[in-house]
Structures are given as C-alpha cells and as structure tokens.
C-alpha cells in the first residue's frame, strides 16, 4: 500500500461509515514489536492502526505485545514508534508499507513488527578560530547508495545552537551527507566599486582606503560539506547502520567574499532591480544565498557584494507588474568579474497549445517543464488553450500539465523547433519552439495479488513499467503487497506495461538503464485501455545476483 493512498483516505474521512451496522464477525490484529537489529523485544512501544482514516492506538506492555480487537474485515495500515526508534509503518520501504488485511482465513495475529532503532548524526560546527558557530544552517542529505549518481534528497535541516552543536535523530540506516551554510557573524561586505562621492569627498583625509571593504570582515563561508571540504566531489557520506550514532564535526573556513558587477541593466529603473543569488548542492538542491549588499555603481551597472566564490546563479528582476522582466545569469564567480546582462545563455522562446478531448478547455491549468538541472518552468493556460513561456535554457524537459480534473493525462507531445522523445522535449539552439500537447481522459488501474512460490505474499515490490521503455520515470507505478498479497496501482496512463513483483526488490535501482533487464522477461505483459480497471495475479521473482 502506498503512503499517498493513506493521505487520501485520511482527507476523505469516514463519510459516516461508523453509522452503519457492525458485521457480526469481527477480527483482530495482534503481534509483537522487536528491535530490527537485535531481535530483542521492545517494550512500551506505541502501536497504531488506521481505521477508516483515523488512527487508533494500542500501547504495548513490557512484553512488546499489542492487540487490536473487534475489527471489521478490511485493510489496516499498521504503525509503531518507541523512544529511540524511528516511527515507521509495518515493513515500510520509503513511501510504501504493508497493510494488514483481516478476514476469514487470513492470519493477522502473528505479526512480528521489526522496529528500526534510530540512527543519529550529531556534531559541532566551528570557525577558523575554533569557536562555535551558532545559527549555522545544517542540512542532512540522503545519498541513495553512497555514490552521487542517484539523486540526493534533502532529508532534514536544522540550525546549530549556541554551542555550535546540531543533531539529526530519527534516522533510518543509510548514507548521508552533512552540508553547512553559514555566514560569519562579523561579516560585512561593503560595496567596492562605488561611484564618485567616495573619491571626491570633502574630507579627503579620512582616506578612501578606510571606506573600502575591510578585508578582515569582507568574508564568507562557502557551502561546506562534511568532513570540512568546499568541493562537493570531496564530500564524504556517513554510512549509518541501524541504531548507530555518528559524530560529524565541521570546521568552516572564511574566504574573501566575491564582488561582482552586472552591467547593461536597464538604466532607468523606478521600481528598482532585485537580485537573488543561489548555489546548487549536488547539482540539484538549490540553496539561497544571503549576500551582504547591492548598489548601483553607475546607470545600468550594479555591484553585488558578499557572494561566495564558485558557481552562482543570479536571478535579476527589473520592473514591476506586466513590465517585469526576469533574467538568470549563471557564472563561476571571481572578484572583479563583470557579468553582462545583455549577453544571456542561448535559450528558447517556448509557446504552444493544448488539445483537449471534446475541445473543452478547463477553467485553469498550468503547463510545467521539469528538469532536475535547470529547474521548473511554468506557464498558465489561457482561455484559448494556448500558453507561452519566457526564455528557457537549453536542456531536456519533462512536459507536465496541472489540471483540476484528476483522470486526465498527456497523450502526446509534438513540437516544431525541438526534439521530442515520449513526453520529453529537448530544447536546443532554435530560438522559437512551438509545442502541441494532446490530452486524453481515463487513466486506468491495476489491482491484484502478488504470489511467491504460488502463495500470496506480503511485502513484495510490485512495479509496472512502460513496455516501450519511454517515460519510465513518469509512467511507472509501484506498490508494496499487503499482508494478503494484494496490491493496487492507480493513475495509469493507458498503454502497454510490464508488471513485475520482486522479492526484496527495494534496493534495486530500477530507474537505471539495464537494472530491470533480468526481470523483464518473466514480467507480465498487460495492456491498459482508457478507464480500464484490470485485475491480475503476478508471480514474484527473486532478486538476480
């Protein structure tokens, strides 16, 4: 069962089902909570099930045993938590868990809930004087497999306390990076390239040198990775086993702040010009930077002071309302650099139309182009189903359409001036790109039973991937089999799929090319028509070695 489904049921509530008469035959869910690492009984855990969207708790005694009585036949997600353990669902893997199904001839009374003891990463952030850095932002980034080829995801952020200490608790085993973003408390980056008044001051004796930025204060901390490196390729992941506590101290090193000028901006700007600086962590996580100051050096030329060295993205906003223009400058910065706002990276002017079934255009909609490197670009749908974007940098983007109806999907994308592969568009050197997006309605559904050696089995990974291999990321659907082996895959774009059930498949990096190859041949070929709800039985495969 997927966690998303749970949220949905929670939101829908019970719809008055409590008022209906109770079935005569009731069932129970019972079992024991044990430590996943040692196997020892965990006493005093809080165990809960969700009944029609509402959580009901059953505290365990010292023997770790729990029981829920008087249950009507149905599926019940089961959770447990205890001090020193991570709160988790039964057999939880990421967003998926195995719900307990009760009914005649189903065993729901011998559950062994293996609770993962929490891992903890804690540490101390110090500056170059070995003094505590308070208020530093510390990020914990989950690295899927200890390498940087899979997308890292931000797990948590915190702030150091007055002792410079931070702590991340409730962690599951895995590989983690620790990243610190902070500003020296004494940092003061004054503008360096200020115009005339400074040089032509009446009090020439207060030497100009004193008005220049003080090098001791004109400093920044670059984004720093454990174990104290500023080059992200030298970052070390901390590998944590269940229940492990790892200390990760990080020393920050102040470096001279970068002063850049941006030239060829609009000279007369009543509404001001705004800059937003950001850096990317591991190529995808955008971190906003707090630079010290900005100011106009001369008409059309601005200085931005207090930036870290390295690759920085500067977003420049000028004007207001409909006249507003936004420009993105991406550069490897060094002090004294002048960025030319007139010269921008070649990009495409993207516009197009959406074709809806029956020609009815929804009241609102949004076209979004998604790329992990360049970020997301969105444009609102007009009444005539047309849309247009500002300039979008070259790259390959997924085409998505956000609509108020839930069963619509993108059937086809075509373009002039760009390459299309499935629902991806590759923008190149062409300056004008026209997209045509054809929508259809009627997403499908697949439910069924996953079996291992002929027996319905809990906790199997169930995965449907497009037979063509196209749109793998977007169109694949996943679930975990519940205690009676059942699963449900929803929101399926009509088409041909290969359905697989894999035992212990959770560590499989199935998005990688070739990773699924050993399993595809034994998968089940299914074809989903618009609006179809298919019921299947799938035999599970054991992991290939």
């Amino acid at each position: 069962m997927s966690a998303l489904l749970l949220i949905l049921t929670l939101m829908l509530g019970t719809g008055g089902r409590r008022g209906q008469q109770r079935p005569t035959q009731t069932y129970q869910i019972s079992g024991i909570v044990v430590d996943a690492a040692s196997g020892a009984v965990v006493g005093g855990a809080d165990v809960s099930i969700t009944i029609a969207g509402e959580e009901t708790q059953a505290p365990t005694g010292g023997d770790g045993r729990f029981v829920f009585r008087g249950l009507a036949p149905g599926k019940y997600p089961l959770y447990a938590s205890a001090p020193g353990y991570v709160r988790q669902g039964y057999l939880q893997h990421g967003a998926y868990l195995t719900a307990i199904v009760v009914g005649s001839e189903l065993d729901s009374q011998h559950i062994v809930f293996r609770l993962e003891p929490q891992a903890v990463i804690f540490g101390l952030v110090t500056d170059d004087r070995a003094e505590a850095v308070r208020g530093a932002e510390v990020m914990l980034i989950r690295a899927e497999n200890g390498d940087r080829t899979s997308a890292p995801s931000l797990r948590s952020t915190t702030v150091t306390n007055d002792l410079g200490k931070y702590r991340f608790a409730y962690l599951l085993p895995g590989n983690y990076f620790v990243v610190v973003n902070a500003r020296p408390w004494y940092a003061e980056s004054r503008l360096e390239y200020l115009p005339a008044p400074r040089q032509a001051g009446r009090y020439g004796v207060l030497s100009n040198a004193n008005r220049k930025p003080d090098p001791a204060l004109d400093v920044v901390y670059p984004i720093t990775y454990y174990p104290g490196v500023t080059d992200e390729s030298a970052a070390e992941a901390l590998s944590l086993a269940a229940g492990e506590q790892e200390e990760a101290d990080i020393q920050l090193q102040a470096v001279p702040a970068v002063h850049v000028r941006v030239a060829n901006l609009p000279a007369d700007n009543k509404n001001g010009i705004y800059f937003q600086a950001s850096q990317k962590i591991f190529g995808s996580l955008v971190q906003q930077l707090q630079y010290s100051s900005q100011g106009q050096v001369s008409p059309g030329e601005y200085e931005i002071a207090g930036l870290p060295p390295g690759r920085v993205t500067l977003v420049v906003r000028a004007g207001s309302g409909t006249e507003q223009s936004t420009q993105t400058l991406d550069a490897n910065l060094g002090t004294g650099d002048i960025l030319d706002a007139a010269v921008t990276e070649a990009g495409a002017k993207v516009s197009g139309t959406v074709i809806f079934p029956g020609g009815t255009v929804p009241a609102q909609g949004q076209v979004t182009l998604i790329d992990t490197q360049n970020g997301n670009f969105s444009a609102s749908l007009r009444k005539d189903a047309s849309f247009s974007f500002d300039t979008i940098p070259a790259g390959t983007y997924r085409v998505m359409l956000g609509l108020p109806v839930s069963d619509a999907y993108v059937r086809e994308v075509s373009a002039s001036g760009a390459r299309i592969s499935g629902r991806r568009v590759t923008l190149g050197s062409a300056s004008d790109v026209r997209l045509s997006i054809t929508m259809a309605r009627g997403v499908g559904q697949v439910t069924g039973v996953a079996k291992l050696d002929g027996k319905p089995t809990a906790g199997l990974m169930v995965l449907a991937v497009p037979e063509s291999g196209m749109n793998l990321e977007q169109d694949s659907r996943m679930d975990q089999s519940d205690s009676d082996g059942t699963f449900s895959l929803g929101n399926i774009v009509p088409g041909k799929y290969i359905l697989m059930a894999i035992k212990d498949g959770w560590s499989l990096q199935w998005r990688r090319p070739g990773a699924l190859k050993p399993y595809l041949a034994k998968g089940l070929q299914i074809s989903i028509a618009p609006g179809e709800a298919a019921k299947v039985s799938v035999d599970a495969q054991r992991p290939a070695h």
């Binding site: 306390n161 007055d162 409730y170 003061e188 200020l194 004193n210 001001g272 100051s293």
Partner: protein, 550 residues
C-alpha cells in the same frame, strides 16, 4: 536590502558618528594622529573577551586579542562612537532601548585606556520528561518575560525552542531579567478533522504547563537570569485528563460544512481531534485540557464561487470554560458582533502651527480594538470622516466578545479629542462587548489645535538620554513615553489641550507608564504643565531612578 542602503551608510560615515570638525580634519597630518587603546571585558566577571569585533565610527575594525586588548592607530582628533560585539554577549546598544542608536561618543585623544564592557548572555537549558520518565520529544519550550508594548504590560514570548529526541532543550541569547518557562499544549497546532462523531472516551495528555510543573501562570516560578547565568531545568510534565466539547453549529450549509478552532489565551490551538457532522451541524472536539478557551466557528464557503460581494462568511465566537466534558453548546453562525465607527473631523485648515505640515487629504484615523482576554484577536481599521456621504459607515466586524481597550491614532497632524461609544468614554475606560450585544457606533472626534511640549531632561544638571512620560492624570491611558535625543531633549506634538504631569525615569523602557498604580510613585516629583489649544511650552525635569518596588 534596498538600493538606498549603501548611500545611507555613506552619509552616516561622513556626517554621523565621526563628528569631526572640518577644520580639525583639514589640518590633520601625521603629527595630529592619535592612538585609541583599550580592552573588551565581560561585565559580569571582569575577564577579558578575545575575538570581539571592535568598531570605531563604523569605519575601522579590529578583533580584540587574547587579552581582550585592541589598539587603533592614526586616528585624527575628534569624537568617535566605539562599540564591541561578539555572539554570546550584548553591548549596551543591544541591551537597552533608550540609548539605542546613541553609542557613547569617545573623544580622541582619550585619557588612558578605554574599557568596553559586554554583558554575557543568559542560558536556560535542561530536559523535559514525560510522566513515565521517557524523554518528552519534540515538545515546544517557550521563555516568557514581561514586556511593555504600547503602554500595556504583557507576558510575551522572548524565545522558543523544541526538545530533541532526548527531551533536551537550550535557550540562549537571553538578556538579564526574569523569565517564565512555558510548555504549550502537546501537538498544539496539529489536529485531525473527521466527518463523523465518535463515542466518548477517556484520554490523558499534556496541556499547557509552566515551570515548575503547574498549570496556571500565577503559580509558576520565575527564573531569574543575571548576566552570564546558565540555569539547568529538569522538568517532568504532568499528564492531565483531556475532555470533550460537544455541541451543534447552526447556520452553515450542509454541503460545505463549517470549521472550528479552539484557542487558548496564548493563541495556541488546543484541540487534537475535531469531528463534524455537516448535515446535522453536530460537532465534537476531543483532547481538550481544563482551561478557558475561545471557540471560533466559521461557515466554509465555496472558493471562487463568483459572488459579487466579498462578504465575510458567517461566523461566531464563544468563550468556553472547560473543567470536564462540555456538551450542549449551541453556536449560531451569523454576521457576528459589529461596531460602527463615525469620525467627526473638527480640524481647521492650517490651524496647526504645532504640526509642521498641513495637507488637503482627508484625515484618516487608525482605530484598534484589543480584547484583554484574547489580545491576539486585536483588530485595527482605518477610518475617515464620512460627513456628507449618506449611508457610509465603516466599522469593526466579527468581534470576539470581551473587554476591549480602544485606541485611536490619527494619520497626520491631529489628535483624538474624544472617543466614545454611547456613554462610555473610551479615552479612559474599557468597552464591554458581550455576545449578541447591539452597540452604538464608536464616535471619534479629531482636532488639530493640539499643543507642543518640549522636555529637557537632566541628571545632576547634565543632559540625560532616557525616556520621558507625559501623563494626563485624568486620562492615564493617553500617556505617552518618548525618548530623549543625545542632548537630553524630547518634543511631543499634537497633544490634546489639558494638564500633564511630566516625568523622566531611568530605564523607562520597562515602565508600565499607563498604569496609575505604577506612575503614582513618580508623580510627586513630576513637573506639571497646562497646555492651552495651540500652546507651546518647555519644561525641565530631573531624571528619577526606577522605583525599586516595581
């Protein structure tokens, strides 16, 4: 950051703290350069502080050495502001409110070394446990202290944090003073809404508590923080029975239903589960500890329904006192309590020579209504005279029942000469607003024949930087507190004609200056001044020490 900032900074450095006489600077040569030497020390221990940033005239910077020492060379003769700072310490500017922006000016050359004192922060740290001895994880901890905001003394949040997985917490950066530790209701602010009622059940949980484990503020112990104090607090929370509130809401559509919110006087949401039957209007709120709350109900409306008027959805407020399960509440949604506002503009064009400006714009007045019981439901509107505009009247809508303090502040050169609601004189008294009451409109009269008062404050005959209270004995609520400038003087414009007592008090920032009981101690030594319309007067007062009994 605005574009104006660098320019402002330059102005300050040229003309501000470095009040260098141009002639002295012009002559300044190598022979006329001086040294500024000194030391940064901990005001509590006298120990040197190393690594503090010392800044002279916002221009020259240095870190103090291992012995706390600093040494600036080559300074021209003149007056300079000198300040030190370091995390974990407060300088005078960061501590005090009444000399903010006015660092003491040092005359260079100095006589001997300069000592810059920094006050070390206070820290409250500790562990929070549940009744069973297990750590209370992810609980909020707040440090509260008394603050005077706009003349009203209230317990306000000074800092807040959340316990970690071990139940540990740490609150640093505390200025010296007296603090209460408060633990808000468990899981406050997160609750679930279900579409069906459920049978009653007995629950226990953790409602709002204060250190040392009491549920009311009056029995709470204050934690005294002196400079540099680090106070350890180990607190076991006491579980309390949780109750239910049941009732029925009338006046919401059975399609859209209604929303409910139960807040305590701190503004925290205390409910854990809300059950609603949209069709019958029955509701059930679970997980409520004993206490006094405000239950607010509001009809839910379709978003973007295309209605021509932007009307407020029907709503209702009900104070609820919970000591056990509560049932049978009937809440009728409606337009709520409304008070109209009428502005009488009695200003005369160009009458006010004590305002410095005149304008042809319609004079607006900001009106604020604050219920004493639930200050977070304070409302502010702005209103203007609508004389000659038939049927036009602004007002307050959807008021919470309670005892209100009403305040009027003209946006311009004028004063409020009268503020009434029926027979109640709101310049002096509270306004009681009860559910279902039909109140006459608030009548605000604005005039611009106010007086100007200049106050010069001295201490032993020398100008003094502090706060001045201008106190009309008949109308204590209209008292004002103004800071004096560097030369010890302050000016108040647009004062209502009348008799005022003028008092200068040391550390006036902590003074409950609209409270007659507090001000009584100072008024004996006050200077009394009577101001006629358009009058101008100057009074001299000697600063009084803060009353030790406060």
């Amino acid at each position: 950051m605005s574009r104006g900032f660098p320019l402002v900074a330059i102005l300050i450095t040229f003309c501000g703290p470095a009040l260098c006489p141009a002639s002295a600077l012009a002559q300044a040569a190598a022979a006329d350069e001086f040294q500024l030497r000194g030391k940064v020390v901990n005001s509590a221990t006298g120990q040197p502080i190393s690594g503090a940033l010392v800044q002279v005239a916002d221009e020259w910077s240095q870190f103090s050495g291992p012995d706390g020492g600093f040494e600036f060379n080559g300074l021209p003769r003149g007056q300079y502001s000198v300040a030190a700072r370091k995390p974990g310490f407060f300088n005078d500017q960061q501590l005090g409110r009444w000399n903010a922006g006015a660092n003491p000016l040092l005359t260079v050359p100095t006589e001997g070394d300069v000592v810059l004192k920094l006050t070390p922060e206070g820290i409250i740290y500790g562990e929070l446990k549940k009744q069973d001895g297990e750590p209370a994880e992810s609980f909020q901890v707040r440090a509260l202290r008394w603050r005077i905001e706009d003349g009203v003394k209230r317990l306000e949040m000074a800092a807040a944090t959340t316990t970690d997985d071990r139940g540990s917490f740490r609150i640093a950066d505390l200025t010296p003073g007296s603090y209460y530790l408060m633990f808000p209701p468990e899981r406050s602010g997160s609750w679930n809404i279900y579409d069906a009622l459920a049978p009653n059940r007995k629950e226990v949980g953790y409602g709002r508590q204060y250190y040392p484990g009491v549920s009311d503020r009056a029995s709470a112990s204050a934690i005294e923080i002196r400079p540099g104090d680090q106070v350890h607090i180990a607190q076991a929370l006491r579980p309390q029975p949780l109750f239910q509130i049941r009732g029925i809401v009338r006046g919401a559509s059975s399609d859209q239903g209604f929303g409910l919110d139960l807040t305590n006087q701190d503004g925290d949401t205390v409910q854990r589960v809300v059950r609603i039957d949209k069709v019958t209007g029955d509701f059930q709120i679970e997980g409520v500890p004993a206490g006094t709350y405000l239950l607010s109900a509001m009809a839910l409306m379709q978003i973007g329904g295309g209605g021509a008027s932007a009307t407020q959805p029907p709503s209702a407020f009900l104070p609820v006192h919970v000591q056990g399960d509560v049932s049978g509440l009937v809440i009728t949604l409606g337009p709520g309590i409304t008070v109209g506002v009428q502005v009488h503009d009695e200003t005369v064009p160009d009458a006010n020579s004590n305002s410095g400006s005149s304008s042809n714009n319609v004079l607006q007045v900001g009106l604020t209504m604050t219920p004493e019981e639930y200050p977070r439901f304070s409302r502010t509107i702005s209103a203007a005279s609508t004389a000659g505009v038939p049927g036009a009247m602004t007002g307050f809508h959807g008021l919470v029942p309670g005892t209100y303090r009403v305040k009027g502040q003209p946006y311009g050169a004028a004063y409020v000469s009268a503020l009434r609601c029926g027979d109640v004189d709101l310049l002096r008294d509270d306004l009681a607003v009860s559910p279902g009451a039909a109140l006459p409109p608030l009548e605000v009269t604005l005039r611009n024949d106010g007086a100007q008062l200049n106050v010069a404050v001295t201490e032993d005959g020398r100008p003094m930087v502090t706060g001045v209270v201008v106190y009309p004995e008949e109308y204590p609520r209209q008292a004002v507190l103004v800071p004096t400038n560097n030369s010890g003087s302050a000016t108040v414009w647009n004062l209502a004609p009348g008799t005022y007592q003028v008092v200068a008090v040391r550390d006036a920032g902590d003074l409950d200056f609209r409270n007659p009981a507090v001000m009584g101690a100072y008024l004996d030594k006050a200077s009394v001044v009577t101001l006629p319309p358009l009058g101008k007067a100057t009074v001299r007062v000697e600063v009084q020490p803060a009353d030790e009994r406060q």
